[in-house]
Symmetry: C2
Subunit: 321 residues, 2 copies
């Protein structure tokens, strides 16, 4: 791709053309060589959006809540980008496709851009794609970017950690909620929402959440808050939205916002370097006949020693080139 | 930790002392500095176990199946290690703890070692810990190592890909099974098991799986197989175990086993290098006052340029030291 094509793409993104946004995100997802240049070019136009992570266990109604939040944001005249990480691929619970279809009336709104992402082949590929998609939507000047992930697995937790505001969704009746809460949720969530608040047990979940927060060690301000909602019935969503905006404002004042963004930048830079290393090593460790695997299985060399060997090779190449 | 202490730990692991196994895995989980030396020291004693990944969506009964498989393996006089990746932490569905308790009668059997693992703080921390735990159990000469992960999220897919044999568990009635199957499951699973085979819809899931396999592009031999079981009723588990052993034998003959193990080794070496790079960069990108973040937010430098800068720094340090 020529430099001018990338420039054209960047201006298409800044003009919020849905086709260009979709194409750019696909480029990043597919890890096309030009995607790195694209992301570099987008960088100056990022940082203006409020990135909100929405996470929680399967069945907690995250997608419906994301849908509702999007609609209410539109009522407040905010433009919205949605990145729905669909971790159920390749094992689909089938929920997301249905939900995306349900968002149908939003799909024709030019101020709403919705993108689903599944797990990718390469290690860390999903996080990389999500980071990239956020950048694209930031450059398209979306006021709010909702990143919806299922609260299972390392990568989702990683993603949740780099949002400006993290909403964790709970529901009554999903197993042992005391266990759920013990396990460090207060480290992750800024807003803990009890969804399906009309179901029996909702108030119990809320009070368990409250006592957990009271017992938790102090963390950066603002302190996490608890809310309740029923996305299905469209109840409590306005209040939740107020809390989300309030969190952003308080986080900006307290310095938490900068801390989060610093972490996001750090993760991005580390990822670029990690890619660089794996590009260097991939060739050597592929099926080629340099015999590394034979030496390993024969016990002539350990994984650590092989890593050491590759490292020297890499430094050598670098200093030559 | 002194060299001789690590040696003592290694010999405790090789003697299959449960306390030592537990301590070693904790060291790896906590990323203690000595864990790298430990893993290097264990390497010569690895490679003899059959590593079986068991994955599937939440609610598919993976844990019960793992439990049953363990019991049947014991009847065949095989020693068993179980690494249960508990991705529901920090969002616990609560299933695993109960299941681990149910395994109670196995817990006193010295030939069975069970370890649960939650998500860890650092990026990629979980995969690293799982790889390490497998090594420890291999060095303890477990005949079979069962790695149970939930089929959601990138890291679980990554883990499933480096087992010798991958069992994917399906159940009737979990959403749109056609979607589930379309999404690349045939790339991952060696054995596709329809669990809860007594439930209505089980035969439909089986026939959808069959037609998907028929349509899938050819892959390395042996071809995936379909089985059905009811872990709850202890039905079909012997047959499944026969298929698991058969897969290992066929995979060894066809070269698939070597391919998988090569991939596992490659992932391990790449991870060691990635760690090395992040150790180098972590310091620079932490809160220190070198002003990288200020320069980034002011637009004086892009993430890619910062990565470049760090890279040169790193090369410089290396050639000095």
């Amino acid at each position: 791709m020529e430099r001018c094509e990338i420039d054209a793409m960047i201006s298409g993104i800044r003009d919020n053309r849905p086709g260009t946004l979709a194409r750019a995100i696909s480029m990043i997802e597919d890890e096309e060589p030009d995607s790195a240049h694209l992301l570099e070019g987008l960088h100056p136009f990022t940082g203006g959006s409020h990135v909100v992570g929405i996470t929680g266990p399967p069945g907690s109604g995250k997608s419906t809540l994301t849908d509702r939040i999007t609609k209410h944001l539109r009522k407040r005249s905010k433009s919205v980008g949605v990145v729905a990480v669909d971790p159920t691929s390749p094992f689909s619970g089938g929920a997301l496709l249905g939900d995306r279809t349900r968002m149908g009336d939003l799909a024709t709104d030019p101020e709403v851009f919705i993108r689903s992402m599944g797990t990718r082949g390469s290690l860390g590929g999903l996080s990389r794609a999500v980071y990239g998609a956020i950048k694209v939507l930031e450059a398209a000047a979306k006021d709010v970017i909702l990143v919806e992930t299922v609260g299972v697995g390392q990568s989702e937790v990683d993603i949740a950690r780099v949002a400006d505001t993290v909403v964790v969704v709970f529901v009554p009746g999903l197993g042992d909620d005391v266990q759920a809460i013990k396990a460090g949720i207060t480290e992750i969530g800024d807003l803990l929402v009890v969804n399906k608040a009309d179901l029996p047990g909702a108030s119990r979940v809320e009070s368990v959440l409250e006592s957990t927060l009271n017992l938790a060690p102090p963390r950066e301000e603002p302190a996490p808050k608890i809310a309740s909602a029923s996305a299905e019935r469209d109840e409590g969503v306005e209040e939740l939205l107020d809390l989300i905006e309030e969190h952003r404002n308080l986080a900006r004042e307290s310095g938490l916002l900068e801390l989060r963004r610093r972490m996001r930048a750090r993760a991005e830079i580390t990822a670029i370097l990690a890619r660089r290393v794996s590009r260097h090593t991939e060739g050597y460790l592929s099926d080629g006949d340099n015999g590394w695997y034979r030496r390993l299985t024969r016990g002539e060399v350990s994984p650590g020693e092989l890593a050491e060997e590759l490292w020297s090779k890499l430094l050598g190449q670098e200093s030559e080139g």
